[in-house]
């Protein structure tokens, strides 16, 4: 069957331009078709323990104070060998602040939807970008590694700060110091996480799901916000707004909302794409017919 198919193909010997158009069409449709990937979420253990085998605790500090977003330190329990970017995505899904936005070059553009537009743009004061730091050693070290390939190990402290600078190691580190006290004490037994004492916070629990952008402020009132979420203030360095959040929230409701919204807008786009594809194929057939007609 295959042989007869190739034989007919050879016999027909379609004009090259037509084949290119068809190839482009197939490429486009298949490429876009692959595109929808489901987000998978593993069940998170509590950062206060106990940890399952193969799990590590990592603290992720995000300092968006320059964007008016405050700064937060989040302790997360993740599988060993998680990458820096997976950690960021995990934080976004657990806090319900959405996944980070990346540019086509792979540059991290936005965390928690901040900034809403732009990506590493250059202006008079230098580059505005999310600088990556590592604080495992006890002080912030400017990281020139790729968060996508950087593997984390137990006790790592990762930091991101939105800075305006030259883009080299001199750019300022996050304002929350990378101290060990960011990790809550490990509990050997099995107390449920919600029974952890909640200290009065110094400020508003800024790490709570206050979704930026268009999704509005419905999230904090949703059932997701009721789930275990403990804010405790930590005296950490010079920072003003510090909140450590231990979260194992299941933000199922919000995720479902987001996905339904995205499919709704996608149908319109698919219709548009289909219209253009029909237009292109009509043109391809017409062009093929024209070359056939004018060929001597």
């Amino acid at each position: 069957m295959n042989r007869s198919y190739t034989a007919t193909l050879k016999r027909k010997r379609a004009s090259f331009a037509r084949r290119v158009v068809v190839a482009l069409f197939v490429l486009m449709v298949s490429g876009v078709g692959i595109g929808i990937a489901s987000t998978q979420r593993a069940d998170a253990s509590s950062c206060a323990g106990p940890l399952a085998a193969g799990e590590i605790r990592v603290v992720l500090v995000v300092d968006a104070a320059d964007l008016g977003g405050g700064s937060s330190a989040t302790c997360l329990v993740v599988p060993a060998n998680t990458t820096g970017s997976q950690l960021l995505a995990r934080r976004g899904s657990e806090l319900g602040t959405g996944s980070p936005r990346y540019g086509s070059s792979g540059l991290l553009c936005a965390i928690d939807g901040m900034p809403a537009t732009g990506c590493g743009d250059r202006n008079a004061g230098g580059f505005e970008y999310w600088a990556y730091f590592n604080g495992t050693s006890g002080s912030w070290v400017y990281g020139n590694f790729n968060p996508f390939t950087r593997r984390l190990s137990d006790g790592d402290i990762e930091g991101w700060r939105y800075v305006q600078g030259a883009g080299n190691g001199q750019d300022p580190p996050p304002r929350i110091g990378p101290s060990r006290s960011l990790f809550p004490a490990l509990v050997a037994a099995t107390p449920a996480a919600p029974e952890l004492p909640a200290f009065p916070g110094t400020g508003a629990p800024s790490a709570a799901p206050t979704q930026g952008g268009t999704t509005g402020g419905a999230a904090p009132q949703s059932p997701a916000a009721e789930s275990a979420e403990v804010s405790n203030a930590i005296a950490a360095g010079e920072s003003s707004v510090v909140s450590t959040t231990v979260v194992e929230a299941e933000v199922v409701g919000e995720v479902a909302l987001a996905s339904s919204r995205s499919t709704h807008s996608n149908t319109g786009r698919w219709i548009g794409i289909a219209a253009v594809v029909v237009l292109i194929s009509v043109m391809a057939v017409g062009a093929w017919w024209q070359t056939r007609r004018t060929r001597p």
Binding site: F16, G31, G35, R101, G103, S104, G106, G272
Partner: protein, 365 residues
């Protein structure tokens, strides 16, 4: 409309505007539409001359570009987070090579970004191929403003190299076929690549030399100092024009490289014109007219470019996100602009040979 060849400048303006549209977007839907529009106009209005078959070669080159871009992304590309398709062995590089990666996980997101960028370059190549196959390079040389005569050889080679390469490749292929060797496939292609390139450059340089020996670009009895000054001004002007037009077409370039560079280039060229032979009058043999069809073809291209500029101002539909991957939006205004860019297929007059091929009566009359 009487059959005639459109002014080559009009085709070039249309094609450059279409290429500028392609440079402004990474939207695969729009890029494919740009390629289709260019192909449609080429098929409708190309003359029956050797270089008019060059469009397919440019499409083939575009496919190679896309393939190379994908392979480079897989091997050396920046590792981008996302859904991993497969992984290739990773080489750990020392600290000073931070930012460079060899091997590692390959994600759909990175492949799609590479595909979009490759497709954009392929669309630009298709626009260039459309201009090459739609108008005669020799007529284009004739229509150039006299300022460029100072850079005579370079301009001649630049405008005739691509069509000469097409003619040379056809001849090399025929020669191989006559000798009983394969004229298709990778081996035939690699064996004929060098003679084709060499032959095309030889022809272009020979053309430039013969034009030079017939007085192309000569200024007669101008003093050496004046000639040097005008050559220098032309050089400065051309470089500034190149930088400025690139800056204007590429929305990501710094502002200094856009309008200021263009203005500087035009000023330098005008200076060269004034300092050189302002008294020098030239005649043209049967100049190509610039009338209604020329205006409509170039305006169609510019309208498409304007529609892309408008869409670019309105939102980010021209650059669909690849991380997270999203279904590219189809901006209606840009599609309408491209439909207008397709109108030259009817607005331009039919080339003479095409008409004679379709209706023998025209030849008889």
């Amino acid at each position: 409309m009487t059959p005639r060849l459109l002014h080559p400048g009009a085709w070039w303006i249309w094609a450059v505007a279409l290429a500028a549209c392609a440079l402004r977007t990474t939207n695969p839907v729009l890029l494919c539409l740009i390629i289709a529009v260019a192909g449609w106009v080429v098929v409708s209005r190309r003359a029956d001359v050797p270089w008019s078959r060059s469009f397919a070669s440019f499409l083939r080159l575009g496919l190679i570009v896309i393939a190379v871009r994908l392979v480079f992304q897989i091997l050396f590309g920046v590792r981008v987070p996302g859904t991993t398709l497969f992984s290739i062995p990773e080489v750990t590089l020392p600290g000073w090579a931070a930012g460079v990666s060899i091997g590692g996980p390959v994600t759909i997101e990175s492949l799609m970004a590479a595909l979009y960028q490759g497709l954009r370059l392929a669309a630009v190549l298709a626009c260039f191929g459309a201009a090459t196959s739609l108008c005669s390079p020799y007529r284009m040389l004739r229509a150039l403003p006299s300022v460029l005569y100072e850079a005579g050889v370079a301009v001649t080679v630049a405008f005739t190299f691509a069509p000469q390469a097409i003619v040379a490749s056809r001849q090399v292929r025929e020669a191989r076929r006559l000798r009983g060797r394969a004229d298709r496939g990778v081996r035939a292609w690699s064996a004929s690549a060098l003679p084709v390139l060499e032959g095309a450059l030889d022809r272009a340089v020979a053309l430039a030399a013969s034009m030079d020996s017939r007085g192309y670009g000569r200024r007669g009895e101008t003093p050496v100092m004046v000639r040097r000054r005008s050559v220098g001004l032309v050089l400065v002007g051309l470089v500034a024009l190149a930088v400025g037009s690139y800056g204007l077409l590429d929305p990501g370039s710094p502002a200094l490289f856009r309008i200021p560079a263009l203005v500087l280039g035009i000023a330098a060229l005008i200076g060269a014109l004034l300092s050189g032979g302002a008294t020098n009058s030239r005649t043209r043999y049967r100049p190509d007219p610039w009338v209604a069809p020329e205006w409509s073809v170039s305006i169609a291209g510019i309208v498409a470019l304007l529609s892309f500029v408008v869409v670019g101002r309105m939102g980010d539909a021209l650059t669909p996100s690849t991380n997270p991957l999203e279904v590219p939006a189809v901006p209606v205004i840009a599609v309408l602009g491209l439909v207008i860019a397709m109108l030259p297929a009817w607005l331009a007059p039919t080339p003479p040979s095409l008409l004679s091929a379709t209706s023998p009566m025209a030849v008889a009359a």
